[in-house]
Amino acid sequence: MRRKIILALGAVALPLLLRNLYVIMFLVPDEMEQGPIYRIFYYHLPAFFTAALCYLTAMVTSILYLVKKDQKYDAIAVSATETGLAFAAVNLITGMIWGRISWGIWWAWDPRLTWALICWLVYFGYLMLRSAIDDPTERAKNSAVLSIFASASVAVTWKAIEWWRTQHPGPVLSIRTGGVQKIDPAMEQMLYVNTVALLLLGLIFVLVRLRQEEVQREIDALRRYAHAMN
């Protein structure tokens, strides 16, 4: 059943991604001040949204694991975290490329950039902690707790733009500026459409990774059973 869902999601996501790529590259006009490099923004921001949603999913499922002690939630949490890390890496890398063209430097110690990197490191630590614990119950419990800690860092990242005035561009989406239109409506609409496409892609990655995790757990259980029989 899940395989069919993944295929169905893929059948929607792939044409949408290709169509968006065509529109972004050939149909949407250049930005007045930044020129063509602004197009990277259509992947930079949706990648951040997808990563943030993955981190949020990891936090919710970690809390659910601590409440219900069901390994299923731990499997979802690790799948969402790994996917979130991949999208956060896309967000950071596209931001660096944009920064190189617009600011002339690959990296600025701007609070929002720094916080995005900190979040990445915190969640990478989550994966390292998991790999260091052998007992599945202990691993699930400790990593669930760390995931809740890490989500506090993500909350700071999300709010950082309001707390500091930085060289990073301010919010441009009308939902974040209180209805004030800061970019062309066509550009904003395209951004939302590509966000949907990347969210779908993120969901596919989480489902595929979840299947891998479940298979790995079955193999581990069988291995433990075989050891017990010997």
Binding site: L66, T114, W115, I118, L121, V122, G125, M128, L129, A132, I133, E138, K141, N142, V145, L146, I148, F149, A150, A152, S153, V156, W163, W164
Partner: protein
């Protein structure tokens, strides 16, 4: 009330044990002085440079020293399975955590108070011009370090590579507290009061402490019960 009494008992046990053996104090203090010396060799700082990065230098020393202290918080209970006895005692997980964090805070703050004059002598800084403000910021930053460090030390106490894992997990989580502490210490070292545009850093530091102390107290029972 009972929770605080238990926490005080655990903190005093940890401090008494530390003052008897002095294993963390001696190593951390000498380590801190060595780092202060190494920075002097690495940068050969002028008085102007020290005004710019004195706070950062101090906090790097404190954070490195802090990892040594918090690493011992639960690790000292591993011989003879003392940790199991502590967990099965009437003290709750929250009081265990608070006691250990308080002991780590006292040790770290003490070491910082010794390092400050050493820093002043080695780098020729009159650090006491706004002493109350400086001690306040040191206390806030140190509590952040003790709170997050001791909590993550409870998570990593049974790991084979805990000496490596602990700093790797603690430092990124701690950056939102250390960054404001560095900025504010830099200002206070010049003897000036905290300017109004730096209040956001102070609020961030206090907010971090409130948020992570609440989270740690709430989750301590889950982490410690095996």
């Amino acid at each position: 009330m009972t929770m605080l009494r238990h926490a005080a008992a655990i903190a005093s046990k940890d401090l008494r044990s530390e003052f008897r053996t002095k294993e963390s104090i001696n190593s951390t203090l000498s380590f801190s002085v060595v780092i202060l010396l190494l920075f002097a060799f690495a940068f050969d700082p002028s008085p102007d440079m020290i005004v710019e990065f004195g706070g950062g230098l101090l906090w790097i020393v404190f954070v490195f020293a802090g990892a040594l202290i918090v690493n011992r918080a639960f690790a000292r209970e591993l011989p003879n399975d003392c940790i199991d006895v502590l967990v099965s005692s009437p003290a709750s997980g929250a009081s265990l955590f608070l006691g250990k964090a308080t002991a780590a805070f006292v040790l770290l703050f003490g070491i910082e108070c010794i390092c400050l004059p050493v820093f002043g002598i080695l780098y020729n800084v009159t650090w006491w011009r706004n002493l109350s403000g400086l001690l306040g910021i040191l206390a806030l930053g140190t509590w952040a370090m003790a709170c997050v460090g001791v909590f993550i030390s409870a998570l990593t106490v049974n790991l084979r590579l805990r000496e490596v894992m602990l700093p790797m997990l603690v430092y990124p989580v701690l950056i939102p507290a250390i960054l404001p502490a560095m900025m504010l210490t830099n200002t206070l070292l010049t003897g000036q009061p905290i300017p109004s545009d730096f209040m956001v850093w102070l609020r961030l530091l206090i907010g971090f402490n409130v948020m992570f102390t609440t989270l740690s107290v709430y989750l301590a029972e889950t982490v410690l019960v095996r």
